[in-house]
Symmetry: C2
């Protein structure tokens, strides 16, 4: 069966634009991805749209004013992994022979909405459940500190690096350097997570055009192959164990699909909705042993010129921003640029294999809804 | 590439159960489908959940308390075609070789929610848009009456037949006969549509277990082959033309995929959210020529013992009920029972080929969001 490749990617700047609609932002990303793929709108045969909070009809709303309805459109939801789920769904349809060229778009407008993740911790209640995502991550983090001696400074280093990388990403929400001290002294949200260790409220959209490898040969740009796409959901274990197990199973499946291991990876995008998440991701992806993620951050191994795997070169969720449904595709957009050598001042030289960890949970009792691991190859 | 078959189906009774959660109803349908397929929960490798109004995390909420999380779960939305979209997504993943056995579940709880379609026309405003689905269907119907001379009595006949069929379906919302006079004299919702020509507010869930044909040979029950699955969205034409075009393109694609035509079809399920919808569906599916749908109803050709294509044998949306995300799978459940000869007193003798028309629109400017045509074969 033919492999599936990414032919084009595009995104809006991630920022606060309460005046813009989901449709408006989605369109900008779609048109950018089509330009990048050097395709006409009429060449897209089917579309998948990922969003967490903008159902129903989001894909239709995005595509109608740019004359792209008529084709099959499917809207998908998988919490903060909705974007990468849209990509996997498009990939499945191509592999199934249902279409040759497909679009995946992810979009979310969060500014002006009651906070899921917000700068104001006092309003950070999702649908009144009383179970807050920052608190949940804080508990996971406390556990990590207790088991492994991970320090607050190590976590702050993740936020510092994230802001450094975002300085060179014109699509990022923040263009501002922060110091370890500033991160640690920013307002406490849920101990040990401080404000600068939490992703901001961001609006944005990202899109990718996919096709099968055979079709891609007709095009002149550099297609990026999807070498693995592995999705899991959480199980009924205790909450922390459910997350760990969900992620580790997805990672294992993805490495198996790609026939690669951690030492083959040159660049990574991981789900740092909160800074400690990146430390856990270093371990989950096998970049270091369990418990060594804090030191990995402290030694700067994940920096663009670090000796480990450069991680979140685009600024990650912390500094690029985290418009929920868009994030998974923004990660793949950054990795596509990296694999093509188009990442400018944040380019990881010679990157050939890239991995993305996109995960999501809703606060409806089950916190571990989805984990998607995607491996891309130049 | 292997064909995909339906190995098992199941549904809740469609009725008003405001005390039951989406998760609870979904679980009942899933477990029924698994029993029908003679499968253990652990044999399901991936799941798709269709809902219009219960995002986010609906599939995870349905599956977690029955120990079925851990596997890939994707939630899909396509307005009132969300259920059949979940089936198509599961089918695509199987065809793509991503899994062998997949679950599709559709679920919606509408009672107690502000009305999308409700018995009380004064509250029938979806998200304050001011553009009501009954009004939209009423305009389509007025146009049909004007162009073809379709009569109010002909439309009422659809509702009468629907209630007759539902009498023999234990899963149907209504078990009550109505006469043409009662239908015409029921309160006017949007001229010419009266109350008994509009689907009720219904809660419910339906599920189907799918697998590839090769895997199906290991099982003893009668698999039903998915011979076609064609999805379209609406274009930017005038609203009525957009619906007509969306449906006709999906129908054409489906017949082509299956290598069948209207004269090969033995039983049909169509999207009669409002009674005139069934008359239009007779025409759209080629059971009669354009404009002859009214006469088709009047002559009873779509009745179970009619000489045309028995249509909505389970009561349709009008009398079985229309829990949005569940409807598409309930249609396929009814057709699976028909093709297996398990439809009891509503059995169409010797049915080998069946077609389902599931469509949906949200009232966000674009009324024609999705049309899915599925053709099943014994």
């Amino acid at each position: 069966m033919d492999d599936v490749v990414i032919l084009g990617v595009g995104m809006t700047r991630f920022t606060k634009t309460p005046e813009r609609s989901v449709a408006d932002m989605g369109q900008e990303a779609v048109l950018a991805a089509l330009r990048d793929a050097e395709l006409e709108r009429s060449q897209v045969e089917a579309a998948w749209c990922g969003t967490e909070l903008s159902h129903p009809g989001v894909g239709q709303r995005v595509l109608k004013d740019i004359g792209m309805t008529g084709i099959p459109i499917v809207n998908v939801e998988n919490a903060c992994a909705s974007g990468s789920t849209a990509v996997q769904s498009a990939m499945a349809a191509i592999k199934a022979g249902m279409c040759d060229i497909a679009l995946a778009v992810g979009v979310e407008t969060l500014s002006g909405k009651p906070g899921l993740i917000t700068e104001d911790p006092t309003t950070d209640v999702m649908w009144g459940s009383g179970w807050l995502l920052p608190s949940f991550y804080a508990l996971l983090t406390q556990q990590h500190m207790h088991r492994y001696g991970t320090t607050r400074e190590q976590m702050a280093r993740v936020a510092v690096k994230s802001h450094q990388n975002a300085m060179h990403n014109p699509y990022a929400h923040f263009h501002k350097l922060v110091t370890v001290e500033e991160v640690l002294n920013s307002p406490l949200i849920a101990d040990p997570i401080t404000l600068y260790q939490a992703c901001p409220t961001t609006d944005g959209a990202a899109a990718a055009v996919l096709c099968n490898e055979k079709t891609a040969r007709r095009f002149t740009n550099k297609p990026v192959r999807i070498a693995a796409s592995a999705l899991t959901s959480g199980t009924l274990k205790t909450r922390a164990a459910a997350v760990e197990e969900m992620v580790s199973r997805a990672v294992q499946k993805a490495y198996e699909q790609a026939g690669l291991g951690p030492s083959d990876i040159h660049v990574a995008e991981v789900h740092d909705a909160f800074a400690p998440g990146e430390i856990m991701a270093y371990e989950d992806l096998g970049f270091c042993a369990p418990g060594e993620g804090g030191e990995y951050a402290e030694r700067g191994l994940g920096e663009i010129d670090g000796t480990g795997v450069p991680t979140n070169t685009g600024g990650g969720l912390l500094s690029r921003g985290h418009p929920l449904g868009a994030t998974g595709i923004a990660q793949l957009t950054e990795l596509t640029w990296q694999l093509r050598g188009q990442a400018g001042q944040r380019q990881v030289e010679g990157a050939k294999n890239a991995i993305a960890l996109n995960m999501g949970g809703t606060v409806f009792e089950l916190e571990a809804n989805a984990c998607m691991i995607t491996i891309l190859q130049a």
